[in-house]
Symmetry: C2
Subunit: 533 residues, 2 copies
Amino acid sequence: MVTEETAANSEAQSKKAAKKQAAKAEKAAKKAEHKATEHGTTENQDEASGEDYSKDKYGHCKMIQSAEKLSERNFVPVHQLGESLGTQSSVWVRGRIHTSRCKGKQCFIVLRQQSSTVQVLISVNENISKQMVKFSGSIPRESIVDIHANIIKVDQKIESCTEKDLELHAIEIYVVSQAKAQLPLQIEDAARPEKKDDPDSLNIRVNQDTRLDNRVLDLRTPANQAIFRLEAGVCKLFRDILANKGFVEIHTPKIISAASEGGANVFTVSYFKESAYLAQSPQLYKQMAIAADFDRVFTVGAVFRAEDSNTHRHLTEFVGLDLEMAFKYHYHEVLETIGNTFTEMFKGLRDNYANEITAVGQQYNVEPFKFLEPPLRLEFHQAVQMLREAGIEMDDEEDLSTPNEKLLGRLIKAKYDTDFYMLDKFPLAIRPFYTMPDPNNPKYSNSYDMFMRGEEILSGAQRIHDPEYLVERAKHHAIDISKIAAYIEAFRFGCPPHAGGGIGMERVVMLYLGLDNIRKTSMFPRDPKRLTP
Amino acid sequence: MVTEETAANSEAQSKKAAKKQAAKAEKAAKKAEHKATEHGTTENQDEASGEDYSKDKYGHCKMIQSAEKLSERNFVPVHQLGESLGTQSSVWVRGRIHTSRCKGKQCFIVLRQQSSTVQVLISVNENISKQMVKFSGSIPRESIVDIHANIIKVDQKIESCTEKDLELHAIEIYVVSQAKAQLPLQIEDAARPEKKDDPDSLNIRVNQDTRLDNRVLDLRTPANQAIFRLEAGVCKLFRDILANKGFVEIHTPKIISAASEGGANVFTVSYFKESAYLAQSPQLYKQMAIAADFDRVFTVGAVFRAEDSNTHRHLTEFVGLDLEMAFKYHYHEVLETIGNTFTEMFKGLRDNYANEITAVGQQYNVEPFKFLEPPLRLEFHQAVQMLREAGIEMDDEEDLSTPNEKLLGRLIKAKYDTDFYMLDKFPLAIRPFYTMPDPNNPKYSNSYDMFMRGEEILSGAQRIHDPEYLVERAKHHAIDISKIAAYIEAFRFGCPPHAGGGIGMERVVMLYLGLDNIRKTSMFPRDPKRLTP
């Protein structure tokens, strides 16, 4: 049994090796560029070395244009190859050339399929010609190939692949889609651990702009495959948990006629002969849904902020997980519902996405996310007290600065051992005009933020449902009442008391995983400087 | 046992009655405007007729500001009152005044909670004063009240309410949020059947613009409550069915740097110092997710079309249900997956949303939606043949006009008894440049539309995954290659063959229910003339 750990060996010298291989592959690819035959593969020319007895077993397939179904080919996913071992005489696998290396009469390929990898051996024998081995070694990395192979159990574990106990011995190999030989980044480099304690962390890495400029390649790393599967999980859990609590999903317009939360930071759209705006949140519309008797609503959708903030946690377009809920007498009915939703979400992620969390942890430092049940709820004045005890000078009604927010997170983690907490009763002065004041203390309000690892991920409040009081508070904020007339009107037909909140989806994923930049959790991020891809 | 069917009697004369009541209520409401006491209700002044012995049992509550939790009050949802009958001495209910009518010493209120209604009796006795009865009758329609009451079984069914076997005998009644007395539309009018064969259909109705201008009121009708719950169901089923088939949810940017499907019909956005566009579809991004190894993806989100189309089925902003899937050799692998997804969705709606379908059917003509399993698949040339046999003159490569599309739907319904079908192999000339041509006939393509009740709800195709061929086809369409360079580049790093489609979510709901206008299935619709609310 022959095995070789190509990936492990090559990592240290990967860039050099990759370049060399790329140049070779470019040459080979050019050579292979001839018309596909009617049988769907390129005709393999005889080499000087003699007749090619494998010429029908390899080559470039004709572009797949749905001319035939080939349903007799039994494709097996790479991660299920183990189950086919010993039961199937041969299988078909479609995957990418992750790495390849030829050595004499043998070619070793690591074939990658999403996050799974398997070693493939193409070795000269009575069925496999020298030419076929050479061809296999010349296929550029990242090309997609169909391989027909026997599954062979190996004695020595293949540590460089996710399938450690078997390898594939190729019978046929066809290129389905060829990658260009010079890639703007190597998957191996993009996937390299960035953990401080990892010896590998000194090796070449790919900077963020290169990653984002070539996102299609960057997204192929195991960490990225895991991040966006976990992100899908966050959305699914958010929706399923709330639907179980009687919430109805709604869809709110993104193009609006007036800036819902003040005129600053809003994108303008040309709307036929008028101007319109991109919604900064579904705030008005989810409140209208409450006034329209939907009782409990949520919505998942794009929100837009024309903020020129170039930080690790701001995007100009992100996904909002928004909810709004009527309550009977106290907004804590809502606060508890939201807190409980987070608890269920954290449990769901921990229990159903353990593989994804592990995969991210192989590239980045991921400390397990800690939470209490029920979640910790502190009041704003208590947070101020904790910060003061830690030496921070701040006013009672001053908002938390980003450094103070992070410090508070560390203090709370040290004291309560939780990465999630709710801060209730924010000062009235620093909240929007529609926030319900605290009836017991006019300096405070019935509003709250929620935090993960010391960063805000939700902002919410009881809203003012009384139209006269809403007008009074808007005037206090010097807001032009005529511009929000439609908003106020919505409360004149009877509206239950209600509260809600808006969650930044990408922040939840970033902070749950302990990542350092929100661009890692937005598939195609938008910031003031980035509009492509 | 006293019962009275207020709603049934008043429908015929509802507008007149409503106006009269509104005027009365306005007067009464003004009278009631005095400061709330510390106990949270307004002080009820003694009437000339003597001491008010119920003065602590009714009134306007102080604005609910979360000052107290009142958790001792056992609130019961209206539709669950039957379960509390005989087991609870008294219950609390929060709902809206749907209608009310005073008659001597009695006041009858129909209390509405979402789509459920129950009759409430406030009758003078040793605990309930004349003043309390009068107050109850003066509360404007649509106001929200808290009622403490005994549940009483009735002998004669109350046909005007959803709770037919019981009524509430009030002990206390408090106004939580008062509606203004003059409503721009009456819920009864907005909820009136519009079926041709219904005797009621001659009575007053509310026109669409009045409805949409006052959407918060309009959405309170039983049909609208049902439509948007079913709409949430469509999204949930779409996601759950695809997730079960291994699809991953993604989120794609709405702000893009270049018009993804040609420059026409695209909204322009000011993006800091640049111009950007609103995505007309997630096309490019879902294809990039396939190139990035996600294999099968879906996304639910806003899409924008700057089309000046003022029709029953066009919106400028709608919710796209989009999916894209890599396949092995034939795009029918994808076509079958999509068809099967629709079958499962139709079954899910039929089985899990029967109440909603019934509720919509009480206002609108809803013919049950018929579908075949597996779905019917016809080729475009067969459709042309059917139309020609029905007397239509058209070319082989001509697109279906809207009238022909609808006629085809009727012909297919008559022949196959299905409201859903797939039309495959559209002429190449009428499809976008990225559509894969049919390898067997250069006039046709590997593309398809799907239809519900004779209207298109999905358009899709196998996409060209080969960058050189994509360039060739783009040039054939006279497209400026430099503008789509990033799109083409995405296919240069190896990309599996793939196909997909985009579904108009509001159209699916409209056509499933057999409604006549897409504005009925968009909560806050946007068209060239409507940007508010």
